[in-house]
């Protein structure tokens, strides 16, 4: 999808002014945070599991080449095919070629964030394929011609009333006077519409939460069951996975299963955890005839060995997004690309270049709430700061900002000059606000005074007063002596 991260500031202002969006965003705070905490509190081993999950992923990344090779061998042995894609474009072409090879015209899709990264739907539709998203949230935004605004709740920016309007517009063969007041009827309607699609689909695409090297299995963790219907009822199952999804063993998978759902939705376990290994066996009565895995790199291999390697531990639970005050304020679309919130602000510059996504690492208060809930203990604030360093080194941040910072640092690095200057500065600042003690219009800080008063200084600086006190004490001491 087109990268609109450069327009972050404008996107954010639009989002703040969008009353419907603001109403929808309230559901993020209400829907995830308390539930996560309750499920975490119910499992005393949770913090230790976080450490272990981090260590397993770190080990897997340090041996990524070997695990990928082992994984491929297992997939091949179970009758599946592994396709290697260096770029998003390559991955799209691989999927298209598989579709061509089986004469496919229709496709159902489970949730896959890398398919967004690949812009797969647009690519395949241009090739004449009919692509249907089957996750309810993804289906809603497909009808709306939008992209996900959240990695696990793609339609979190949409209200129930909007969904109702979208369904009335799209499902023209249904009674226009039907009652859709209850969200459950909307769910039922989507269920009926999509049922037909599963049966009609030639190819079913799913993502993968994990790839298990021990068994050659791809794993999806879902609640709706659409991913399972997608892969079971299609003739061909294609799994889209980025290379960092591989983990060593089934026992390791169990560690992640105990972390993922709790961190994501606050469930102790998601409804469906499905391990898929190869195509339908000769004696199987159902399941796909072909099983393909597309392994996408798209810049990840180059994150290894850098300050951003730890980002590859991410298991896409969305906890950082759910807990981010900036995300709560502006929603996911403002970030301008596939991945929003803290994880997106680290990952997007890695994948598309910091020159195109410079706002994202800066649009954070570095409050650290993301890191405090990340099941993989990814130091997100640290990595946002690393991006800021890259931008500073490459002179990518605005000139006034650099000058301001440099000017301030010039004084701060010269304590004597600093204290003399500030003594005068604070006196002036206090004088500027003689009546209200508040500085309505502080020069060069319009950003602050647009929404807030600027609390005036007390007058003297502490250093000044301390020096006076010490002098007085010295005096007293002298008198006593």
């Amino acid at each position: 999808m087109e990268i609109k991260s450069r327009d972050f500031k404008k996107n954010a202002s639009d989002a703040l002014a969008d009353a419907t969006l603001q109403k929808a965003l309230k559901n993020v705070e209400a829907g995830f945070i308390g539930k996560r905490q309750a499920s975490v509190d119910a499992l005393p081993e949770f913090e230790d599991l976080r450490d272990l999950g981090r260590d397993i992923k770190t080990h897997a990344l340090k041996h990524l080449d070997v695990y990928l090779e082992d994984y491929e061998k297992k997939v091949t042995a179970s009758g599946g095919h592994v396709h290697w894609a260096e770029t998003a474009q390559d991955a799209c072409e691989i999927v298209r070629d598989i579709c061509h090879s089986v004469g496919a015209r229709t496709m159902t899709k489970g949730k896959s964030m890398i398919s967004e990264e690949m812009q797969l739907n647009a690519f395949l539709e241009a090739d004449g394929m009919e692509v249907t998203e089957t996750d309810l949230g993804e289906y809603i935004i497909q009808l709306r011609g939008e992209h996900p605004s959240h990695i696990i709740a793609p339609a979190v920016h949409v209200t129930k009333d909007q969904v109702e309007a979208d369904f009335r517009r799209a499902h023209t063969n249904l009674d226009p006077n039907r009652n859709l007041d209850d969200p459950v009827t909307l769910l039922g309607e989507a269920r009926e519409v999509l049922r037909e699609k599963y049966f009609a689909a030639d190819v079913g695409i799913t993502g993968a939460n994990f790839l298990v090297a021990e068994s050659g299995s791809s794993v999806i963790v879902t609640n709706e069951g659409n991913g399972d219907l997608t892969q079971t009822l299609s003739r061909v199952h294609i799994v889209l996975a980025s290379i960092e999804k591989v983990i060593p063993t089934l026992n390791d998978l169990d560690v992640f299963l105990r972390l993922l759902a709790r961190s994501a939705t606050g469930q102790e376990q998601s409804v469906y955890t499905t391990l898929s290994t190869g195509p339908r066996r000769t004696e199987d009565p159902d399941g796909p005839e072909e099983y393909h895995v597309v392994l996408l790199d798209n810049g990840r291999s180059e994150m290894l060995g850098t300050d951003f390697e730890e980002m590859l531990r991410c298991i896409r639970c969305g906890a950082c997004i759910n807990h981010c005050p900036v995300y709560h304020a502006v929603g996911g679309h403002a970030y301008g690309w596939v991945y929003p919130g803290p994880m997106g602000s680290v990952l997007t510059p890695s994948l598309v270049g910091v020159d195109k996504a410079g706002h994202l690492p800066n649009a954070s208060t570095l409050c650290g709430r993301c890191e405090s809930v990340c099941p993989m203990r990814i130091p997100l604030p640290k990595m946002l700061r690393h991006w800021r360093e890259r931008e500073y080194e490459r002179h990518l941040n605005p000139t006034p900002q650099r000058w301001g910072l440099k000017g301030w640092a010039y004084f701060a690095r010269r304590p004597k000059l600093y204290h003399r200057t500030m003594r005068i500065g604070m006196r002036v600042m206090k004088y500027l606000a003689p009546q209200t003690a508040l500085m309505r219009r502080l020069p060069a800080a319009g950003g602050w005074t647009k929404h807030r008063e600027f609390p005036a200084p007390e007058g003297k600086t502490f250093q000044q007063m301390w020096a006076e006190r010490e002098a007085e004490r010295g005096q007293t001491k002298g008198d006593a002596a």
């Binding site: 179970s78 290697w84 909307l186 769910l187 049966f199 609640n223 898929s276 159902d286």
Partner: protein
Amino acid sequence: MSERHDNSAAKSAILGKIRRSLASVSEGADPNRNEARQEVQERLASRPKGIVPKRAQVGHYEKVAMFMDYAERVSSTTARIGSYDDLPGAITQYLREHNLPQAIVMGEDPRLKAVNWRTEPQLERTIGPSDGTDLVGVNHAMGGVAETGTAVLASGPDNPTTINFLPENHIIVLDANDIAGDYESIHDQLRDMSGVAHMPRALNMITGPSRSGDIEQKIMLGAHGPRAVHVIVIG
């Protein structure tokens, strides 16, 4: 099969990039990745178990009770019966209580096959995968996990995957002796004596009926899969 994609070239390129990136920070030189390979083989062979929650490390009776408790917490219903002889009656009772027709689709699991279904002659049974028209599907689980009330079903002729997802009502039959405390124990069952994992095409770990929170983050049951899951524990 690909029209223009050179898979082995792409593979070499990706693995090459990974190795270069890793080498840029690794201390000892390991250009052929021999050490890495050995470490991986050791890890795959030893398969260390992670942290198994204490709550799952209990005796058999507690495990069965915990399984049923957690299953109900996620909106499954449960029933416990003494033996397979009671299964037809338990199924017909469930169907009656939920105003469902006395008709089920089921696989050829030998444990289900061995049941004397003639005790409930009105129950109409279709053997084979579901085509989406069935209201009720019955499958036999390979195991249950007490720590989250999760039923584990392995695909195959015994238990077609479609039965797990297409019928609106899913009845899962589970032998109490197959209820483990944790996921690890289930995965152990998939491995043979030499430790090699033999996977069914699909291993479905099911924790409650299908649901979605995609409209205003309010959870609704019955998304694309079953609206109701009923687990009958035997023994």
